[in-house]
Symmetry: C2
Subunit: 224 residues, 2 copies
Amino acid sequence: MSDPKTDTGRPRRKNMRAAEREKLIVEEAVRFFAESGFEGQTRELAKRMGVSHAVIYRHFDSKDALIERVYDHVYLKRWNPEWEQLILDRDRPLQERLTQFYVAYAERVFDYDWVRLFVSSGLKSYGLTERYLDIIRTRIIEPAAQELRESRGGPEAPPPSDTPPAEEVELFWGLHGAVFYIAIRKYVYNIPLEINVEATVRATVANFFEGVLHGTRQTNRQEF
Amino acid sequence: MSDPKTDTGRPRRKNMRAAEREKLIVEEAVRFFAESGFEGQTRELAKRMGVSHAVIYRHFDSKDALIERVYDHVYLKRWNPEWEQLILDRDRPLQERLTQFYVAYAERVFDYDWVRLFVSSGLKSYGLTERYLDIIRTRIIEPAAQELRESRGGPEAPPPSDTPPAEEVELFWGLHGAVFYIAIRKYVYNIPLEINVEATVRATVANFFEGVLHGTRQTNRQEF
DNA sequence: TAGATAAGTGACCAATCGGTCATTTGTGTT
DNA sequence: AACACAAATGACCGATTGGTCACTTATCTA
């Protein structure tokens, strides 16, 4: 039908350069493991690429080694270091900074592959999710909590300390959960969401700050 | 050492009545699948009970049949129908109702087995999580959203309709996510939480209502 | 164009999986 | 104590698993 030379689709069964093949395997593996979980078979993964499963073992020592590469590819590349400065930028109101952060975060991370692989690896407890959430905690949650504590307390507020305020930290984890749960509903629970994600994120952050700024601090909080 | 008749521990290797054995299998399977995921082997499950894995197949037609029973045992028994009336009880402020609900909900459901099995089955998409979240939506989220819409709107507010207000519904999903994410952090991501869960739930609900009641409705919301 | 080298194949392996079955062992009944 | 039946066993089956290897095929280079 079509001349393989002019066929714009994937080159059929031709040999590929090692680097190119590896990249292709990792990309296909990301999607595959996101769908099937890590117990998905290498043979089926290979079949998707139209090659024998032995090819995978030419390029990766083991299935676990491939999974490691999948992690790298999916997680590490999606963290934007600028977010860390954004949270601390006192030229803008804290609410504005967090709105921008969560809108950008959702844009990057609310994705079938990312969310499912993250939750899957959480259940397997390879220690990977713990490391990632450490970044969220130390770079986003705790700085934001510190900013809030310093900004909203009057002159009589306790002086800022090195240890982040536990009460505010938990509230920000609540905000984080409210936002991320959107992705969980969509990609883990398969709930069809017809909502505008960005608008929902904005509204969630806005509602959070309305509570946090206008609320009375004295009630319902003493038990932390 | 101890007379097997008076030994309060598990009876060693003795035959059990069918009903008793089935119950024991299901209970052990709950814990086992929560730890290992549904790909855990029946042989290892049997080994935990000190029996051969053929025993499982005497009492259950297949592994899938056992998993079905595990679902029943874990999910259906933990829903309290009184919660549905609680949300609609206009003798009390809506915030109080939701606080009571989420404190009770967390008490029942924030549990290693429950949370991990729920997320696992979500990833497998057996349709089970969808059914469960339908209950949450129709019995809790949408009624609460309706209550809020009717309570906070002044006389000029639009008349209540049969279809729940989408804007409020999404906000309440945010509250639900903020609360449930506590359990996800603890049991899926293995983050050690030293917090008082009940106090955190109360604070989360309180902060949510401070935002929802004191906030200005006009800003940041028009895009839903 | 011929040889060298890298890429890909398919058969194979040992371990593991869900599931079955003839047989043995325990237990309530008479 | 003897019988009948239920419970449990362990060997076995066929399919599937991650992984290997000798061999074939494609591509680059001289």
